[in-house]
């Protein structure tokens, strides 16, 4: 009896685990093409493709590329690949190479070292790593986008929506990517409302909805009436909605809080993926540090919701063309002062690419601190 029971239990656990693994981490073919001449493209994501955030934005981009390039490519996608686990990343890449992929996109910052190692190991495979800085001369390059341009425009909306002049910002980690976003948002808000301040709370997690919610509530209790966030979940938006405040999203359009949602800086990765895959199809592969903006269409501002005032819409429309054509160079054009009032970017100049990538100071108008690393 006991042996039978043990067998049954083992079967349940094994069957369950296998079926789950099958659902969540198997490679899925996105096109039906099967000739040898097609380009096999591999993609790895840190979370599920339908996470409603970062990975979904990438997956929708890949789907657009598939729609645009049709049967010239065949896509293999691996989800839920832990980016803090180098072994998991390496084995995911190995699997994709074994499937015959010759172009591989690794979409999270944490994949950087494993991707670089794989580029050395597989010289015939081309690698594109998102948001990192490690490149080589032959088969590894990087891509990211000037999301700050869209954040700047979202800041304009927030600056003209607030009644208390107090904006809140729930951010994940005190790293340059988040700091840049906060600064761009603050510069946008203060370009139309010089009294506006942006109070920042670090959650030290990309994803813990309860902590994000508590962070937003602590801001809301101080009279903050427009919430923004740089997280992978919509918890801060929901907290703002529950308190009757407004909110700016991130990554994807959010329909869950229609009484709070103003707009969001969005990724539109399809533009990049189509461009890069086409480059390889044409035999024109080149190493680049892709950093597209609104002009290229990789980044955009979501359609303003009906909650946005006519005044705010007009203010956005007024600078939109300039922001689109000049990108982050416009956003971070001087004069820009830091929190202590020291001029960091002089009038007539603009923050260089390297300075943006390593940004570790807040602009004037941000309330909050960057903890020592």
């Amino acid at each position: 009896m006991r042996k039978i029971l043990a067998m049954v239990m083992t079967c349940i656990l094994v069957a369950g685990t296998v079926s789950i693994a099958g659902c969540s981490s198997s490679s899925k073919e996105t096109t039906a093409a099967g000739t040898d001449t097609v380009l096999k493209v591999g993609v790895i994501y840190i979370s599920p493709k339908d996470d409603g955030g970062y990975s979904q934005a990438h997956a929708e981009g890949i789907a657009q590329a598939v729609a645009a390039l049709g049967d010239k490519i065949k896509v293999f996608e691996l989800e839920n690949v832990n980016d803090t686990d180098a072994a998991a990343t390496t084995s995911a890449i190995d699997n994709l190479v074994n499937e015959g992929c010759t172009l591989i996109f690794t979409t999270s910052y944490g994949y950087m070292q494993a991707t670089a190692d794989a580029a050395t190991k597989y010289p015939n495979v081309k690698f594109c790593h998102c948001s990192g800085y490690t490149r080589n001369d032959t088969n590894l390059d990087t891509y990211f986008g000037q999301i700050e341009s869209a954040r700047y425009l979202a800041g304009i909306v927030a600056g003209l929506t607030t009644k208390t002049d107090k904006l809140g910002y729930v951010a994940a980690f005190p790293i340059p990517e988040c700091i840049r976003g906060i600064n761009a948002y603050t510069l946008g808000a203060r370009s139309v409302n010089p009294n506006a301040t942006v109070t920042v709370v670090w959650t030290n997690t990309w994803f813990d909805m309860d902590v994000e919610k508590a962070a937003a509530e602590s801001l809301l209790s101080q009279g903050i009436d427009v919430m923004a966030q740089h997280q992978d979940s919509p918890a801060a938006i929901n907290a703002a909605a529950a308190a009757g405040a407004f909110a700016v999203g991130y990554d994807l359009t959010y329909a869950g809080a229609p009484k709070a949602y103003l707009t969001a800086p969005l990724w539109n990765w399809g533009t990049y993926y189509t461009y890069k895959i086409q480059q390889v199809l044409d035999g024109q592969w080149k190493i680049e540090n892709y950093w597209g903006g609104m002009k290229e269409g990789v980044v955009k501002l979501d359609t303003l919701s009906s909650l946005v005032s006519a005044e705010a819409s007009a203010a956005v429309a007024k600078v939109q063309d300039t922001v689109v054509s000049e990108g982050n160079a416009f956003v971070f054009a001087g004069p820009i002062k830091d929190q202590s009032g020291t001029v960091k970017v002089a009038e007539g100049s603009s923050l260089s690419y390297d300075d943006q990538m390593g940004m570790s100071w807040f602009v004037e108008g941000v309330v909050g601190e960057i903890p020592a690393p």
Binding site: G16, V200, F207
Partner: protein, 352 residues
């Protein structure tokens, strides 16, 4: 915006954060009282949460949501019970397996309802705060006002209804901090009291404690040891399921994979911190919850956040430091109780 309001809101946030910790702790406490350390709390919370949330979205029925949460997590606990009670497998390994298994199952199930929100009717139910003073007092006052109008009693029949506003700052603080919570919160606290009574004042509670303390003696005295273990392991799992359901259904109003974000592990530490006692769990869960999020508020006061003691990274360590302190102070003391003695070891009747 004044300081008292900020602090009151912090208390309210901390309580909301702690509810799932408290429910989970009560569940794990029952399991451990039966002599079984179930490290699968995180998995059971996710299983209960996903089953309940998916049921809520599909049926718009709160009772079914609760039922499925309880069944989902109870199923996880049943697997654990079969492994550790009947098959006498290692409890730690079984619990860890349950965590991985539960998380995978829950995320798969949850992915069938992407980008959804808690149905309006259920959300509305939890937006009602039964003890909230202004709302409740006004409800009662307007009720009597209606009656007196109807009965034409006194002059009040002509007077317009005057709604009640809290003017007393202390009362306003208490109202915002402690009384503006949903019914789930108060029922959970009530449950902790009931469980204390059950554990320490009833025969069945005594039987449970005996099984966890000295299984052989309990067996010798004629208690159905296996049945008792199954019962409380499953009941404990069911409570963990409700704890898991609270997060997506009430707190966040939406599902996301791994939504519990490690709360199940905090629970395991909490049970030790509160010395396996349900009433202490109320305070313990609140302390852990408050310490988990107080760093977020302190960041906004630069005079405080610059002090090393209030450093945002160090703040989140405090619950665990406290747990270690409790362990240190209870270890080596002869009279201090160090938890159910039979915990962690499988019971073989033949080895008595």
């Amino acid at each position: 915006m004044n300081m008292s309001f900020i602090v009151a809101t912090f208390f309210a946030s901390a309580i909301a954060f702690s509810v799932s910790l408290l429910l989970g702790t009560l569940g794990e406490l029952l399991t451990e009282r039966a002599g079984h350390l179930n490290l699968g709390v995180e998995g059971m919370m996710l299983m209960g949460g996903s089953c309940g949330y998916v049921a809520a979205v599909r049926t718009h029925n709160l009772v079914l949501a609760l039922l499925f949460a309880v069944l989902g997590a109870g199923f996880g606990a049943l697997l654990y019970a079969v492994l550790t009670v009947t098959l006498r497998a290692n409890q730690n390994v079984s619990g860890l397996a349950l965590t991985t298994f539960g998380a995978g199952l829950a995320n798969t199930l949850g992915s069938t309802v992407p980008n959804t929100n808690t149905p309006e009717n259920i959300a509305a139910f939890f937006k009602f705060h039964p003890l909230e003073l202004e709302h409740t007092v006004n409800g009662i006052l307007s009720f009597f006002h209606q009656i007196s109008r109807f009965m034409h009693i006194g002059n009040s029949s002509q007077a317009a209804f005057q709604p009640y506003h809290i003017n007393n700052p202390v009362l306003a603080f208490i109202n915002t901090a402690f009384l503006s919570q949903d019914i789930f919160v108060y029922l959970t606290i009530l449950l902790a009291f009931l469980m204390t009574f059950y554990l320490f004042k009833t025969k069945k509670g005594l039987a449970l404690r005996m099984v966890g303390e000295n299984t052989a003696a309990a067996d010798a005295s004629g208690l159905p040891v296996t049945r008792i273990k199954y019962m409380y392991i499953i009941a404990g799992g069911m409570l963990c399921g409700l704890a898991g359901l609270y997060i997506p259904l009430v707190l966040q109003g939406t599902w996301h994979s791994d939504i519990t974000a490690g709360k199940g592990w905090i629970v395991v530490a909490l049970v030790i911190f509160v010395r396996w006692h349900p009433i202490k769990a109320i305070g313990g869960a609140f302390v852990f919850g408050a310490l988990s999020i107080v760093g977020l508020s302190i960041q906004q006061f630069s005079q405080l956040s610059s002090m090393i003691f209030f450093n945002q990274y160090i703040m989140v360590m405090y619950p665990y430091i406290l747990t270690i302190v409790v362990l240190v102070f209870t270890y080596g003391r002869k009279k201090a109780w160090r938890g159910p003695s039979a915990i962690g070891s499988a019971y073989f009747r033949e080895e008595r």
